[in-house]
C-alpha cells in the first residue's frame, strides 16, 4: 500500500507492463482486418483500442495509466497526414519545382502538427485520474522543429547532439502531470559525450571488420579472380557489416534513453532507466528475425516484447508520497480545454 504519506527517504517504484503478446495478437489481428475492410478508416479506432490496452497494462505504484484519445480526432490527423504525404510525393513526380514548393509547405506545417500531436498525446494520457499536459508554445515548436534543424543542416550535422538535447529539454520541461511540471537536467556536454562514444565504437568495429574481413576477401580475390566463391565471401563481408550496424544501433538507443530518463524529474521524484546494450540488441535482432520468418505474424509479439523491456527498465524513485499531485487548476483546464477541440494526432502507425 502506498497510501501512507509519512515514510521519508526514497522508494523505488518500478514500472510493470502486464500486456502479453498472445492477447495483443488477437487485438492486432481484429484491428487489422477491420482497418483493411474499411479502407483504413477504422485504423483510428484501432489505435484507440491498442493504446487503451497498452496504457491500462502499464502500472506504476499499483495504479495503471489510461488513454483518452478520441478516434475522430485521430482520424482527422490521419487524413491530414495522408493528404500531405501523398501530395508531396505526387508533386515530386510531376515536377521538381512543384516538389520543392510542396517541401517548403511541408516544412512550414510539420512543426505545428508535431506540436499539436505532442499536446494531444499528453493531454489524452492520465494516471490516477489526473491528466498529463503539454505547455510548450507553437513559437517554441517552430524553434526546435524547424529553425534549429535548418541551422544544424548548415553546420553539416555537427550540432545534432546539441539539437537533440534542446529538443528533449523542450519536451520534458514543458510536460506536466496535473499541475506538477517535469524537469530535465542533462547537459549538452553529456549528449556530445554519448554521440562521440557511439561513433567511436561504430567506427572501431567497422575498421576491425574491414581489416579482418575484407582483408581476407581481397587476398583471395587477388589470388584467384575467377573463383566463384568470391561473390559468397563478398556477400558475407557485407552481411557482417549489416549485422554490426544492427548490433551497434541498439547501443545508441540504450545510451540515449538512459541519459534522457536518468535526468528527468517530476517535481522531487527522479526517473531512472537501466536499459542494457546486450538485452536491447538481443530483443531487436530476434524480433526482426521473428517477423521475417513468420511473414509478419510475429509483429504484435515483437511489439509487446520491446515495450515490456523498455518500460520495465524504467522506474520512478519516489521521494515521498505519490498521493499529493493535483489536477491542473480550473483556469489552466479551461484554457487548454478550449484548445483541445482542434487537437490532431499526427501519426500514421497502427
Amino acid at each position: 500500500m502506498h497510501t501512507d504519506p509519512t515514510p521519508p527517504g526514497i522508494k523505488r517504484e518500478a514500472i510493470t507492463f502486464s500486456a502479453t503478446g498472445s492477447e495483443y495478437f488477437r487485438i492486432w489481428i481484429v484491428n487489422l482486418l477491420l482497418s483493411i475492410v474499411t479502407l483504413g478508416i477504422y485504423s483510428a479506432w484501432a489505435k484507440v483500442r491498442r493504446n487503451r490496452y497498452f496504457y491500462s497494462s502499464t502500472h506504476l505504484a499499483g495504479s495503471s495509466f489510461e488513454y483518452h484519445g478520441n478516434a475522430i480526432a485521430i482520424l482527422k490527423g490521419r487524413i491530414a497526414a495522408v493528404v500531405l504525404i501523398a501530395g508531396y510525393n505526387i508533386a515530386l513526380q510531376i515536377s521538381p519545382f512543384i516538389g520543392l514548393l510542396m517541401f517548403v509547405l511541408m516544412a512550414a506545417i510539420l512543426p505545428w502538427l508535431v506540436w499539436k500531436s505532442l499536446q494531444f498525446k499528453l493531454y489524452n494520457t492520465s494516471y490516477r485520474g489526473i491528466r498529463f499536459g503539454f505547455d510548450g508554445s507553437a513559437k517554441q515548436a517552430y524553434k526546435y522543429f524547424l529553425w534549429l534543424p535548418i541551422l544544424n543542416a548548415f553546420t553539416g550535422g555537427l550540432m545534432t547532439p546539441f539539437l537533440h538535447q534542446r529538443l528533449k529539454r523542450f519536451q520534458h520541461t514543458e510536460s506536466r502531470f496535473g499541475s506538477a511540471h517535469f524537469s530535465f537536467d542533462a547537459s549538452v556536454g553529456s549528449f556530445y559525450k554519448t554521440y562521440l562514444l557511439f561513433f567511436a565504437i561504430l567506427v572501431a568495429g567497422l575498421v576491425a571488420l574491414i581489416v579482418v574481413g575484407f582483408g581476407s576477401v581481397f587476398a583471395s580475390f587477388a589470388a584467384n579472380a575467377n573463383d566463384p566463391s568470391k561473390i559468397g565471401s563478398i556477400l558475407l563481408a557485407i552481411g557482417a557489416i549489416y549485422l554490426w550496424m544492427f548490433t551497434v544501433l541498439p547501443l545508441f538507443l540504450t545510451m540515449i534513453q538512459n541519459l534522457i530518463w536518468n535526468h528527468t524529474r517530476l517535481q522531487q521524484h527522479q526517473f531512472a532507466s537501466q536499459l542494457t546494450w546486450g538485452r536491447t540488441t538481443f530483443i531487436m535482432l530476434t524480433n526482426l528475425l521473428g517477423i521475417v520468418v513468420t511473414l509478419g505474424l510475429f509483429t504484435p509479439f515483437a511489439h509487446v516484447r520491446w515495450l515490456k523491456y523498455r518500460l520495465e527498465a524504467t522506474a520512478l524513485l519516489a521521494h515521498g508520497s505519490l498521493d499529493e499531485f493535483v489536477a491542473a487548476t480550473g483556469e489552466q483546464v479551461s484554457a487548454t480545454g478550449e484548445g483541445m477541440v482542434d487537437l490532431l494526432d499526427f501519426d500514421l502507425s497502427m
Partner: protein
C-alpha cells in the same frame, strides 16, 4: 443490493487513492469505504474486457475506479446487464481471431490482386496525358549525360525504321503521341519507353535483331507499355503497396517494411512485360507480320541473359518465346 467488489477510487482532482467497494443497487452504482458515492449506471463508462489489463469504470466528472478482481467484476457486470461489444468478443476469442487472420490474408490478397490493379488502371487512364508527360521528366537528359552517346546509326537508316513503324496500324484505336529515338549505349542492347512518349532504342539492340520486322516487334512492345500506361500504373501501385507495408510493419522496422514493395514490384514488372508482349502480338497480327519475328527478338535476347524468373524483373526469354509461338 448485489455482491460487492473491491476497487481503487480516484477522484480526478488529486492523485489520492481511496479504497472502496463497488456494488449495484437497482440502476445505481454504490461506492462504500474511504468515500461514499452513488451514480446511475447509465452515466458510467466501463472499459473493455481484456485478460491482462485492469478494468476501469469512469464517472462523468473524471473520477474513476480501478478493479483488479476480473472474475468478480465480470459477474457484477453480467448481473447488471452489461454486454461486451462485438469487437471485444472477437478479440477475446481465439477461434474468431483465427478466422479474422484468414479473412485478413484473403482481404490483403484480393486487394493486391484485383482492387489495386483496377484502381491504378482507372487512375492512370483518368490522368490527362499532359500530367503523365510530366512524370519522369528529365530522365532522358539524365541518361544522355551518364549512359548514352549519340547514335552511330546512319540518319537514313533511323528514318527508314521510323517510317516503317509509322506505317503500321494500331490495333486499338488511336496511338498516343510518341517519338522514336536512337542512342549508342554503354549498357548493351536495350529498348524502353518513357512516360514522356519517347521510345529509346539502342544501336546495339538494332544490330542484335535478325531483321527489320523483329525491330518492329520491339517497337510494338514498347508502344504497348505506353498505350497501357504501365509506368504511371506502376508508380501508383508501388506507392500504394509501400504505404500499406509501412502501415503494417513500419512500427517495428523500416528495413522489414521495404521488403514487400520490392518483391511485389518485381512481380508487377513481369506481369507488365506480358501485357506489352500481348500488345505487340496484336499489333503484328493486325499488320500481317508473322509472330515468329517477335519470337526471334526474345531468342536473341535469351542468348544474352541467364536470369531466374522468380527474382527478375522480366519473364524468362524461353517462356516468352513459348507464349508468342503459342499465340500463332
Amino acid at each position: 443490493m448485489t455482491d460487492t467488489v473491491s476497487a481503487r477510487y480516484f477522484d480526478g482532482q488529486t492523485s489520492r487513492l481511496y479504497h472502496v467497494t463497488l456494488g449495484v443497487d437497482g440502476d445505481q452504482a454504490v461506492l462504500a469505504g474511504d468515500i461514499e458515492r452513488r451514480c446511475p449506471l447509465a452515466q458510467l463508462h466501463v472499459s473493455e474486457r481484456t485478460s491482462h489489463a485492469v478494468r476501469k469504470v469512469s464517472f462523468p466528472d473524471g473520477a474513476y475506479l480501478e478493479i483488479a478482481d476480473q472474475a468478480a467484476f465480470n459477474q457484477l457486470l453480467h448481473a447488471s446487464g452489461h454486454r461486451d461489444s462485438l469487437v471485444v468478443r472477437l478479440q477475446q476469442s481465439w477461434r474468431a481471431t483465427l478466422l479474422a487472420l484468414l479473412a485478413t490474408v484473403l482481404a490483403l490478397f484480393l486487394c493486391y490482386q484485383y482492387l489495386l490493379p483496377l484502381a491504378a488502371k482507372g487512375l492512370a487512364y483518368a490522368l490527362p496525358p499532359a500530367v503523365e508527360r510530366q512524370l519522369g521528366q528529365g530522365v532522358l537528359e539524365l541518361l544522355d549525360d551518364h549512359v548514352f552517346d549519340p547514335s552511330k546509326l546512319a540518319t537514313a537508316r533511323q528514318d527508314a525504321l521510323r517510317t516503317q513503324f509509322a506505317r503500321l496500324s494500331i490495333p486499338d484505336g488511336a496511338a498516343l503521341e510518341h517519338r522514336i529515338l536512337f542512342r549508342k549505349s554503354k549498357i548493351g542492347p536495350n529498348a524502353f519507353a518513357l512516360p514522356s512518349g519517347d521510345i529509346v532504342l539502342t544501336d546495339e539492340m538494332v544490330e542484335l535483331m535478325p531483321d527489320d520486322q523483329a525491330i518492329m516487334g520491339v517497337l510494338a512492345h514498347e508502344l504497348g507499355h505506353l498505350q497501357r500506361r504501365h509506368l504511371t500504373r506502376r508508380i501508383i501501385q508501388t506507392s500504394a503497396v509501400g504505404a500499406g507495408a509501412a502501415l503494417l510493419f513500419g512500427d517495428v522496422s523500416t528495413a522489414v517494411a521495404a521488403l514487400p514493395p520490392l518483391l511485389l514490384d518485381l512481380k508487377y514488372s513481369r506481369d507488365v512485360e506480358r501485357e506489352a508482349d500481348d500488345y505487340a502480338i496484336a499489333m503484328l497480327r493486325h499488320n500481317g507480320i508473322a509472330l515468329e519475328h517477335l519470337a526471334q527478338v526474345f531468342v536473341a535476347l535469351g542468348k544474352l541473359d541467364h536470369g531466374t524468373p522468380y527474382l527478375s524483373s522480366h519473364p524468362a526469354s524461353a517462356e516468352r518465346v513459348a507464349r508468342i509461338r503459342a499465340a500463332q
